[in-house]
């Protein structure tokens, strides 16, 4: 498949207050040397816990925070250096669906104005065409035409997220970045939004970059998955391989931590415990960033940082001992 988005060695860092005015300036590397490719029409998911850098990476790709280095190219066009009119033109190709539909919508604007706003800001279509697009998207997102004139507070959370989705699709973007699109919604409403996103993907041929911490949701939505930990991608694979044969111990631990409703699996499955907390992101350890919590860490892990290398075609992991933890687990199960 053709690559729509190519991210190479993306770096985002935030300056941290220095100690005194003469002290060295230190940086928090929120995204550190991240590379991945998203093919046209697929859903690429980034999973990770809070502070892993998944949202920051997405914001950098959408040019909503500044990257410190690397490259982001959409259909072969480099996005990171763009300015002025060029940037405006590209913004219409990359749109964002935000996590919290309560704070993402301007409370003083009507629903139709909210959906039309990207068209006003990024395109020069005629008012009649805009009106037509808004009406069409309203229907596509499952909202009623009589709701066009309502204000955000008159909608429920799920309906607000539908407005957020319609708004993101207004400029017919190539890439839609969904940042935790359902985590602020009630469980029963989540299914409606997830189904809608998948339906719209087929209908409009959309490519999603899907950010989530919920592995169940990721499993359902994704085609490829990148797992992030402390600003780095630690594992990347297609959905089947990642969930069935995780190679990085962090991925394995993450999977085993998800509570399951299946009784038989619950008793059989051995939970992989990762005690403690992630390291201080300003003073990262020398070796592997996961070493202090890793159940299979050895000497080399605290001295040398593992690179993200391909283990088999299309499956990479950044670990000195890939696959070891998963193997132990399956042996445990069979005994």
């Amino acid at each position: 498949m053709r690559a729509l988005l190519e991210v190479r060695n993306l770096q985002v860092r935030f300056a941290v207050r220095r100690r005194g005015i003469l002290g060295p300036r230190s940086y928090l590397r929120a995204v550190d040397d991240v590379s991945f490719t998203v093919a046209t029409g697929e859903t690429m998911a980034i999973v990770g816990e809070s502070g892993s850098g998944k949202t920051t990476a997405a914001l950098a790709i959408a040019r909503l925070v500044n990257a410190a280095g690397g490259s982001v190219s959409l259909e072969g066009e480099e996005l990171l250096g763009l300015k002025g009119e060029d940037l405006r033109r590209v913004r219409s190709k990359v749109q964002f669906i935000f996590q919290d539909p309560y704070s993402a919508l301007d409370p003083r604007r009507r629903a139709e104005a909210l959906v039309r706003e990207p068209l006003d800001a990024l395109t020069d279509r005629s008012p009649e065409v805009k009106q037509q697009i808004v009406a069409e998207l309203f229907a596509a997102a499952g909202l009623h035409p009589e709701q066009l004139r309502l204000f955000p507070h008159q909608f429920s959370g799920g309906q607000r997220q539908r407005i957020g989705i319609a708004r993101a699709l207004a400029t017919r973007p190539k890439l839609v970045i969904c940042d935790e699109p359902v985590s602020a919604l009630d469980v029963a409403v989540q299914a409606q939004i997830l189904n809608l996103l998948r339906r719209l993907q087929t209908e409009y041929g959309l490519t999603y970059l899907f950010i989530s911490h919920d592995l169940g949701v990721v499993q359902h939505m994704s085609d490829h998955v990148a797992v992030m930990y402390m600003g780095r991608i630690v594992e990347y694979a297609d959905r089947i391989r990642l969930f069935n044969r995780p190679q990085h111990p962090y991925t394995a631990a993450l999977l085993s931590a998800v509570p399951s409703i299946d009784m038989s699996k619950r008793s059989r499955r051995e939970r992989i415990l990762i005690p403690g907390d992630p390291p201080d992101p300003v003073n990262l350890p020398q070796g592997c960033r996961f070493a202090n919590r890793c159940p299979i860490a050895r000497d080399i892990c605290t001295s040398r940082e593992p690179a993200l290398i391909e283990i088999e075609a299309g499956h990479s992991a950044a670990c000195h001992f890939p696959g070891e933890l998963a193997l132990q687990e399956s042996r445990h199960q069979s005994s």
Partner: protein, 327 residues
């Protein structure tokens, strides 16, 4: 004998449009050492039930209109505020969803744990401080003695929730109410907190009421569950039975609308089951009809005209649905 016995509980909330029963005819028992779970969407009355038990309903707005809450043989409805203060924190305590906002930012965690012990158990300053150290150790915070002097902002979210648990367990309560204790936490931290709660329950014999919307969490933590909808019991019974054969369409919806982790994962990807519509507004609460009917695919005339009563399936499994037997 059950430790907590709730019967025909009705909690009313005063709104601009009149009085609405946010809890309507709720009844359940909690045995000593048992863990039950209240499950449902936001607005279904889970937290209201907890606040009612704790005697913490918002004054002037919410009140217990009728029914009884019996704790260890003692009636809590109508108990004096003084008595409730003795019970709260001592016999029944609660942990909340947001460990960030539930701790006081200007006091050290040691002071906040010691405060409970001094208020309820009349310990001296130094004895309370020592006991606080032991509690931090019990909730598995490394270097507990030195962490006592930390302020909440110096701790991670998971550690703060551990501090909340330490405060809640300081007086060895008989019941611990955990209101969405892990919703704000990462999944690996959630697993740590669940392990901790399970161990503490085994060690101290504390009964747990877990409030959540996550069926996975229920399955991991609870023995029995109460599925609530619009202030009413939809279904109540053992966790295993409800998950393997839910009798109420709402329970069914709650289980199947969430994409659960599949092991092993296959190529097939079905559409998620949607529970269409939204929770009814407060003005509709209390109607003599099934409040779930507007979202239900099994709706018949009966559902709109009469409130369904509990239909029993086995000794401790009931579902409030006219069609439960057919499902």
């Amino acid at each position: 004998m059950s430790l907590l016995r709730v019967r025909n509980l009705r909690i009313e909330l005063r709104t601009r449009d009149g009085v609405a029963p946010v809890i309507d005819d709720l009844g359940f028992d909690l045995a000593e050492g048992e863990a039950i779970s209240l499950v449902g969407e936001s607005g279904c009355g889970k937290s209201m039930t907890a606040l009612g038990i704790m005697g913490l309903l918002p004054q002037q707005i919410g009140s217990i209109a009728s029914g009884s809450i019996e704790f260890d043989g003692e009636e809590l409805v109508g108990a004096s505020e003084r008595r409730m203060r003795e019970i709260r924190g001592n016999e029944i305590s609660m942990i909340f969803q947001e460990p960030m906002t539930s701790l006081n930012p200007v006091y050290t965690v040691g002071e906040q744990i010691a405060e409970v012990l001094r208020a309820h158990q009349n310990l001296s300053r130094s004895a309370a401080w020592n006991a606080a150290g032991d509690l931090l150790d019990a909730v598995r915070i490394p270097n507990p003695r030195s962490r006592l002097a930390d302020y909440p902002f110096q701790m991670s979210g998971g550690q703060r929730q551990r501090v909340m648990i330490a405060i809640a367990l300081a007086c060895r309560p008989k019941i611990l109410i955990a209101d969405e204790p892990t919703t704000a936490l990462d999944v690996t931290v959630q697993a740590q907190i669940f392990d901790l709660l399970r161990d503490l329950r085994r060690e101290t014999g504390t009964s747990i009421i877990l409030i959540t919307h996550d069926m996975g969490a229920v399955a991991e933590m609870a023995d029995r569950m109460i599925v609530m909808y619009a202030g009413r019991t939809a279904e109540i019974g053992p966790v295993d039975a409800l998950i393997s054969h839910p009798r109420h369409p709402y329970t069914r919806g709650l289980i199947s609308c969430v994409p659960h982790i599949q092991v092993p994962l296959t190529e097939t990807r079905d559409e998620l089951t949607e529970v269409g519509g939204v929770v009814p507004s407060l003005s509709e609460f209390g109607a003599d009809a099934c409040l779930f009917a507007s979202r239900c695919v099994h709706r018949t005339d009966e559902c709109d005209s009469r409130r369904p009563g509990p239909i029993a399936f086995g000794p401790d499994h009931t579902a409030d649905c006219w069609h439960a037997e057919a499902l």
